[in-house]
Amino acid sequence: MAERSFAHEVRKLRTGAGDTLSGEGILAVTKALLQSGVAYVGGYQGAPISHLMDVLGDAHEILEELGVYFENSASEATAAAMLAASVNYPLRGAVTFKSTVGTNVASDALANLSSGGVRGGALVIVGEDYGEGSSIMQERSHAFAMKSQMWLLDPRPNIEAIVNAVEAGFELSEASSTPVMLQLRLRSCHLYGSFTAKDNVRPPMTVKDAVENPSRQLDRIVLPPASFLHEKEKIEDRWPAAVEYITSHGLNEVLGAGTSDVGIIVQGGVYNTLNRAMELLGVSDAYGNTQVPTYVMNVTYPVVDAEILDFVADKRAVLLLEEGQPDYIEQNLNAILRRAGSDVALHGKDLLPVAGEYTATVVTQALHAFLSKYLPGTVAERPALLLPHSDPGSPFAPRVEASVVRTRPPGLCTGCPERPIFSALKLAEKETGKKHHVSADIGCHLFAINEPFNLGATTMGYGLGSAGAAALNSKDADRRTVAVMGDGGFWHNGLTSGVGNAVFNQSDQLLLVVDNAYSAATGGQDVLSSRADSALRSTKHPIEKAVRGIGVTWARTVTNTYKIGELKDLFVKALTTKEPGPKVIVAQSECQLNKQRREKPQRAKAIKEGKRVVKERFGVDADTCTGDHACIRVSGCPSLSIKANPDPMRTDPVATVLDSCVGCGVCGANAHAASLCPSFYRSDLVFNPTWRDRTLAWLRARWIGALSLGVERRADRFEPAEVN
């Protein structure tokens, strides 16, 4: 595991009925699953739902007590296919992954699952990563719900509402024989709040019961003619059943009914932002007492026609807040209104931005425009953000010169073992005198596209680094293409989609597999090649063995990426060898974040216990550094920075190593491999020295003292008493 314990969170999962549980949204969902009598859970980690997987991974005792099966799925497709257990058996199952990247991977399985339908409640919890802070392309989960006809819940960002949505999701799924997607937006996953817990529930039927009583229904298997039948069922049976459940259980809410003849329709996930905008305009308060009727769609698919028509019946105009594009809901509402011959004016993307996150600013602006047109009397307030930017009262009035605020994208951590890999690749390119097309992948290694490495031209998806280079393979070219993949992506699908494909098609590419012992970018989850022992999973399956197993003949594993010189030589060899077929380099060193998390407390403990401990860090001699920053351009370590030149004669800042240095050795190795400069040194601070240390130190001090006497005396003749 990630060498990080979630014991604290796990304890919270035992909270009993009536007690208050406080925590992040994602923890609340985990608890809600156990309260709902879930029988099995799976998923693939990824922001923002990694935490859910991590907590469940550490909660195996509770899960065993309840008879709940849990696994870390190999991919989102694996996770989605796992829900097949709910097709024939009344088992409640839940899987989770990051959307929309995970939903894309899972969509084959989701389509088949939705076609046959389910008997037990099947819940797909997607952590939607849309808007600021997202690390993926901006797409909507909504499309997947529509195309496979799965119901989509988008609860208000409120812990209690989210917990209720999990329970309602299972019931809705069972009532309509349809899998349900629960969409958790990025900020909702990390939302802190509390709710009143219920007892955990042992599933009425466990996975064990199902395995021992196998059952099948031919008409649930996706093969004609059953698949034609499913298509009819979806419309004639499952949809009406879902609408009936949604309506009778009041999953969607109407607030402020009858207060006005205009209204607002909002996705549940955007509700809090809407209420804040209404507060700013003076038409609602902190407890949601709105003066403008509001229809909150906690279920965004299917849209319930009758509820919409009922809501607009007494209105002149409504404003729809639908985040993201395409505007699926707006199109749907237009169709519903037109079919019903309604003449209510529907506003949406005409007043709001078509794309992008619906922040308080854009929602307030749109709402102000809408209310000013239809209810000019009600807008009581005019928040500063509505002022033009040129107005000195505007929060956006220019108060800071734009050029002094630079972007600060995420990068590799201090001590990251991937930094020396890219330093070495950069140096290898310098040595061979050739630049290469580099096909990047998803993972921390993608940060190499930025300064100072500038390596990587495309990223096509998780594990697709090698496949992304497939076409750029030419017998006549004077160089080969470089592809990058992480160990996470490799096991996710890269072994087959990339390596197998390259072997089969006799690709000449160089594939670099960055193996840092975990699926590190998602929080340090174990993968097959993890080198730690795991009580619950089978690890230590080497990547090199796997690639040789499917036909790669030129494969090398480097076990210490910090030896930049050796790695550079290996890159040069791999880039120039005449051997046909893909060349694979597996570059191994443990993720520093996980390593430090594990070793820092151990080291502190050892020092306390009186054991000999050496603490290493690097430094730069300001006298010797000439301020050219070549070291930074080949490394980019956050701990390697600059400072004002202490030398009064020189003006350019010198390089400096910050206290955050973990002594990984990249600075020194780079200074050597790139023949940089003699300014770098490593200081080894010894705690609890042995008698041998002390004797040696005594001897050294005498010798050095004697030799430096002359040096210092000579300097004293020239230097003033107090050196400036």
Binding site: G133, S135, N158, L191, G193, N272, L280, D285, A286, Y287, N289, A360, A384, L385, S394, R399, V400, A402, S403, V404, R406, T407, P410, G411, C413, N450, P452, A521, T522, G565, G619, D621, T624, T626, I632, S641, N645, P648, M649, T651, D652, L676, C677, F680, Y681, R682, S683, L685, V686, R700, W703, L707, S708, V711, E712, D716, R717, F718, A721, N724
Partner: protein
């Protein structure tokens, strides 16, 4: 109703930090304080799981009172997940540029916000990459912090945290408590730290330091620098950024005192063996240049010997002879600076001498936070090249070595992968000491002859220019700045330097010669492959004005 504007609203707090700085812990502490005081508390973030060092926003809302008592739509207050521009009560920024970002995004506003910002800089990648000085002007950020907040609390909270062996989240939490912007007493804050149970003592110490710092006024931006043409003493600046933190301010003050002393009592600024040189500085050089000259006097003597110092003063004297009277003596000062820097070029002898100096080894101890008497070993990462070794040897021998395939191979094998030398060990120290002892032989080395000839050529060109264009002469002198680094970097600098001098010769006589040379020099310092300089030259050749370099892209 209008409850928002009448004050029925949450306290809103945005934290702008970089991933891995503990912004999440800080947000959690704030929530804990709020909850204990009976506030309904919510926090959100969009922190990627392990995406370190990127700029991140954490957001907290605290609503007074808990659940609804009356007949409300919601039992809990509906809180926002975003900071709303113009509506944020407290902004906490872990660093000065992040404070600038908070203002740029409209989170910190002068009508409402208490801005608590650490005044230290964590440089962004593009500030660090430049060959010269790519730092943005901290003073501009400080000005913005004052203008963009109702109440600005600024101090180096990073320094305070490090002094307490803690992290910046703790000192910022202390500053939040000390700011009085939240209606909770100090013990409430400290209880939150205690309840979290990790590194409590260190956190509390950093908290206390932050709390106290919040009581002191924030550092003020410096007034705009006086224009150099105004006469009077030259404003001392460190780098391109005017000082904002106490350490840099102290350095500026010390430099000012030194300038006065250089005029009043120059002998005190050099050692006993250099008194004659100090006397010569007073006799032959304009007052504003003397501090710099005395630096150069000491440097050249330690580097080589007093004869070398005499040669140095002879060289600078040629500039003093053409100096403008009664001015800031820019030409002489810059000549004093750059001639000394070039004359003390970094060869293996000089590096060895720097490495074995006692004050250097003491400095390493301080940086490593070694306790008095604690054992510390220092290992150098050296990578001498064949050419560098040949350069250090007496001319004839150096020529032979540089041309010898056998020697090249032998040394190459030895140094190919670099060496790690333990300066605190007997063998390592002795090696470096022996290298430094080569100093008397330096004047007979291959490189020495080469460098002196190049220096004289450069000075001749600058002096020739001085006869017709004083400013151009100054800029030619300053071109020495591009000569930096070792190995390939130094080679690149030497090439850029040659190009700049050739361009300077062609520019002489043009009214915009000095300004154009400045731009070309900035271009030379913009990148390592010389493309910016090439482009600037091409534009110059085509007759277009060389555009001022925009901030590093």
């Amino acid at each position: 109703m209008s409850s928002w504007s009448s004050g029925r609203r949450p306290i809103t707090i945005a934290i702008l930090a970089m991933g891995g700085e503990g912004g999440g812990v800080l947000a959690d502490w704030i929530v804990a304080v709020g909850e204990n005081a009976g506030y309904h508390s919510q926090n959100t973030s969009v922190a990627g799981v392990a995406q370190r060092t990127g700029a991140t926003v954490y957001y907290v809302e605290l609503y007074p009172g808990g659940r609804s008592q009356g007949d409300d739509v919601r039992r809990e207050p509906v809180l926002s997940l975003f900071p709303t521009p113009g509506e944020v009560d407290i902004v906490i920024a872990s660093e000065l540029m992040e404070a600038g970002r908070a203002i740029q995004r409209g989170f910190s506003t002068p009508d409402r916000t208490t801005l608590i910002a650490s005044t230290n800089r964590v440089y962004s990648m593009d500030e660090k990459l430049a060959l010269g000085d790519g730092r943005v002007d901290s003073n501009t950020l400080l000005e913005a912090a004052h203008a963009g907040a109702k109440h600005f609390i600024g101090a180096d909270f990073m320094e305070l945290a490090l002094a307490a062996r803690s992290v910046i989240s703790a000192s910022l939490f202390g500053a939040l408590a000390g700011s009085g912007a939240l209606p909770f007493d100090r013990t409430g804050f400290e209880d939150a730290i205690r309840a979290s149970g990790k590194g409590v003592d260190a956190s509390l110490a950093a908290f206390a330091a932050g709390y106290d710092a919040a009581q002191r006024p924030a550092p003020l931006p410096l007034p705009a620098a006086p224009t150099p043409a105004s006469g009077g003493p030259v404003a001392v600046t460190i780098g391109l950024s005017r000082p904002v933190d106490p350490a840099e301010e102290a350095a500026t003050a010390a430099e000012k005192r030194r300038e006065e002393q250089a005029v009043r009592d120059p002998g005190a600024l050099v050692g006993a063996a250099l008194q004659h040189a100090a006397a010569r500085v007073t006799a032959d050089f304009p007052a504003p240049a003397r501090s710099m000259l005395l630096h150069g006097v000491v440097r050249t003597a330690v580097y080589q010997d007093t004869r070398y110092t005499d040669a140095y003063l002879d060289r600078v004297a040629r500039f003093a002879a053409v100096e403008r009277p009664d001015g800031p003596a820019r030409l002489t000062t810059e000549a004093a600076r750059h001639i000394a820097l070039w004359m003390c070029y970094q060869d293996t002898i000089q590096v060895a001498q720097q490495k074995i100096r006692r004050r250097r080894l003491d400095g390493v101890r301080t940086e490593a936070k070694a306790a008095p008497g604690q054992l510390l070993n220092v290992r150098e990462y050296l990578h001498p090249q064949v050419e560098e070794i040949a350069d250090t040897l007496p001319t004839a021998l150096g020529r032979w070595v540089a041309g010898s395939a056998w020697f090249g191979k032998a040394v190459g094998r030895l140094t190919r992968n670099g060496m790690i030398v333990n300066t605190t060990g007997i063998i390592g120290f002795t090696m470096l000491w022996a290298m430094a002892m080569f100093r008397p032989l330096r004047p007979r080395s291959l490189r020495f002859g080469r460098e002196q000839a190049a220096i004289d050529a450069w000075l001749d060109q600058a002096l020739a220019a001085a006869a017709i264009d004083y400013d151009l002469a100054c800029e030619i002198v300053e071109c020495q700045r591009v000569l930096k680094g070792y190995g390939a970097t130094h080679q690149h600098g030497t090439e850029s330097f040659a190009i700049l001098l050739a361009e300077a010769a062609a520019l002489a006589g043009r009214p915009d010669a000095a300004a154009t040379l400045v731009r070309l020099r900035d271009a030379a310092l913009a990148d390592e492959d010389g493309s910016a300089l090439q482009q600037a030259r091409a534009e110059l050749a085509s007759g277009a004005p060389v555009p001022e370099l925009s901030p590093v892209a």
